[in-house]
Subunit: 111 residues, 3 copies
């Protein structure tokens, strides 16, 4: 995933900007949410939230008539220490890049 965007908040430094991977500093329940914005093109996109190599949830954006449309979803996840959580563009392309897209995660409570 090419993330040329800005990481607004990265307290604890557990988000790897280069690879756009969140690596859990400790075991617990985390809240993750994302809004991936596609710019007008002919393709449907599917975005997966991945935990290690497993797709947890998906979101879609497929309208061909609008300029910008977001594929959004969110989830509470039980995460083990050092688990890697990241977004994967499963289908389609983001020709215009990730502008306006967000990906947020925080610890709700430790286990």
């Amino acid at each position: 995933m090419d993330c040329s965007g800005t990481v607004l908040v990265n307290i604890g430094n557990h988000f790897d900007l280069k690879a756009s991977v969140f690596q859990a500093p400790r075991r617990g329940i985390y809240s993750f949410s994302f809004h991936v914005v596609k710019v007008y093109n002919r393709q449907t996109i599917q975005v997966n939230l991945m935990q290690n190599d497993y797709p947890v949830i998906s979101a879609f954006a497929g309208d061909q008539d609008v300029t910008r449309e977001a594929a959004s979803n969110g989830v509470l996840l039980m995460v083990e220490r050092d688990d890697r959580v990241y977004l994967k563009l499963e289908r389609g392309t983001l020709m215009g890049g990730w502008k306006y897209s967000t990906f947020s995660g925080f610890l709700v409570f430790p286990l």
Copy 2:
């Protein structure tokens, strides 16, 4: 609500999978969010987040040209002990089921 999906996280066991009802273990402020995905069909759906028998917020999905579209919303709610919070399909049908839909809630702080 027929929830044939997976409950990814259910710490405390306060989410009733059968009926898809969250029952609050204690008084406090909870964050709830949902993304209900409808598969291509001719109908507009309206999804309500219900607290007991009262609709708190609504979300809509009504595009007829796309394969999958989500009705999404989220809210902070003051919830009394034993209050029941759940989703209700107020309008339309989900012929393809609830696949890819999510419903999340967690305690932000107790009162």
Copy 3:
């Protein structure tokens, strides 16, 4: 921003209903999310989440074929004491008002 809606939760009284501005009671990481619903009209809307006078994230709704469509996004923000966080309609109009729209913020952890 004309917010004629209901504030469902305003613990701490740090949300100014009149101006729809959240003023941070203390320094910390806050989670903000919004869903601004536009009713059928010909215009594309762009909604900005503003921190003081700076736009942090944007969301768009531009489909002309649907009755109701939401411009949604969310973010974790590092906020200083007395910072003001609010929504701004950067482009377009909301002729039907803010019905069904939500704007939520809470402290994830203090700094």
